[in-house]
């Protein structure tokens, strides 16, 4: 008890996964703490903000649905469990080609559409500059519209509004072209997948 008070103060439940198992009302804090790391993990592997967000949402829904079954005693074990679930979601997405929403649907969690700021934030998390060399090599495989959109967005790092004006299309259309282009290149870009240690420290 004394140890617990020293570590967490005022006798409150431990934060994180262990605490959320004891008191599910604190699970939202676990989500707030880790959602961006998980989002980055998916963004760097799917190159698609919407897919990355859906996978992240399903991962946390799955964690919440099974928090009772978490058997760990430390936060490190909680994080390990979280990454196992995330990797499984990614595997299922690659296997089936669609994002599973089993836990989201079961819990009745509405998943909102991404706004422009959030979309671009997730794109930042994907760290497209990391795949720049592969991208430059692979641009020839694409159609002219996608090639132009990717060149302006990823290689020249221009704003969507700016590109939209130059190309005579809406920012949404440009976003779709960039997203399509990246997904078409996903196979060659998969070789540039970050290692898990890179993931944790970037």
């Amino acid at each position: 008890m004394g140890r617990r008070l020293l570590r967490f103060g005022h006798g409150r439940a431990a934060p994180g996964f262990v605490g959320a198992r004891e008191d599910p009302s604190t699970f939202a804090d676990v989500y707030v703490e880790y959602h961006e790391q998980v989002l980055r993990f998916f963004a760097r592997r799917t190159f698609d903000p919407e897919t990355a967000f859906d996978l992240m949402a399903e991962t946390f829904a799955e964690l919440f649905a099974h928090i009772d079954g978490f058997r760990g005693d430390t936060e490190e074990q909680g994080r390990a469990w979280m990454w196992t679930v995330a990797r499984h979601q990614l595997y299922r997405w690659r296997e089936r080609g669609i994002v599973e929403r089993r836990s989201i649907e079961r819990l009745g969690i509405p998943v909102a559409t991404l706004g422009q700021v959030e979309y671009e934030r997730i794109e930042d998390l994907a760290d497209l500059q990391r795949v720049r060399p592969q991208l430059e090599q692979a641009l020839d495989q694409l159609g002219s519209e996608q090639r132009e959109a990717l060149q302006l967005r990823v290689l020249e790092q221009r704003e969507y509004d700016d590109i939209a004006q130059q190309c005579g299309a809406s920012p949404q259309v440009i976003r779709a072209r960039v997203s399509r282009g990246l997904r078409q290149l996903a196979k060659s870009l998969a070789e540039a997948e970050p290692t898990e240690s890179e993931e944790l420290f970037t």
Binding site: P24, Y31, V32, R96, G115, E118, R180
Partner: protein, 241 residues
């Protein structure tokens, strides 16, 4: 714990959902009757242990006698013993929907499977149909979906329609494809897609109420509404991608 910036609306909405669900679950846990751990741990009286041992011995002896004397030793497997999880739809509930739609590039059409969850909701699983089975196709290879795979569930009786859209990325089809799928009940008189510019296109609904629409590209249903014509009213469902 860092706060999520207000402009990250989708991430914040998720936080709100987890907070609400977490509080509901915590309340439910607090209201649940507490078990008395002492009672569980209390040492059982010796007489009970002896009785249990005697019962066990009798059971072993009876089984041994049966194995030794019986003609075929026939302990038949209990068909109920391998029933799945309570929420798993039973196999007799699962059926392939009549609706299907061609893929823009590959030969295997899209279809859906219907099942009923334990709490009475209608569940749908989307996939590619090969030989009367539903599955996925990757690099030309078909893999059947697991029996428990479900994409969306909803109360068909109350809402008259259960529907969803799914993105399916592809290295072959530029931008992948988006699929709209669902089922309506008998009260629904018609379905149509209404684009952002107001153009409408009817959605073909099969005799069992199922429908599947495949469009090339990502976000192909963005800004589109699914118009559901019911017996008394007309509803428009905004499709998110």
């Amino acid at each position: 714990v860092t706060k999520i910036p207000p402009e990250h609306t989708a991430a914040r909405a998720l936080e709100d959902s987890f907070r609400q669900l977490g509080e509901e679950r915590a309340r439910a846990q607090a209201q649940a009757p507490r078990q008395a751990p002492r009672r569980v741990r209390r040492r059982a009286p010796r007489i009970v242990l002896i009785a249990l041992m005697a019962l066990l011995l009798a059971a072993v002896a009876a089984t041994g006698a049966k194995v030794f004397l019986d003609d075929d030793g026939g302990v038949k497997p209990d068909p109920k013993a391998h029933k799945g999880h309570r929420l798993d739809p039973t196999s007799s509930d699962r059926r392939l929907g009549l609706a299907s739609a061609a893929d823009p590039v590959e030969s295997q059409p899209w279809g859906l499977r219907l099942s009923e969850s334990a709490n009475g909701n209608t569940c749908l699983a989307l996939g590619r149909v090969v030989g009367g089975r539903l599955g996925t196709v990757r690099q030309g290879r078909f893999t059947a979906l697991p029996a428990r795979a479900v994409d969306v569930c909803g109360p068909l009786g109350a809402r008259h329609v259960v529907t969803a859209t799914r993105s399916s990325p592809s290295s072959i089809v530029a931008g992948g494809r988006d699929v709209l799928f669902g089922v309506v009940d008998r009260t629904v008189r018609g379905l149509e897609l209404r684009s952002a510019t107001g153009q409408t296109a009817p959605v073909s609904v099969k005799g069992d109420g199922t429908f599947v629409v495949v469009r090339r590209g990502h976000g192909a249903f963005g800004g589109t509404q699914l118009v559901v014509r019911g017996p008394a009213d007309v509803r428009a469902i905004a499709l998110d991608r």
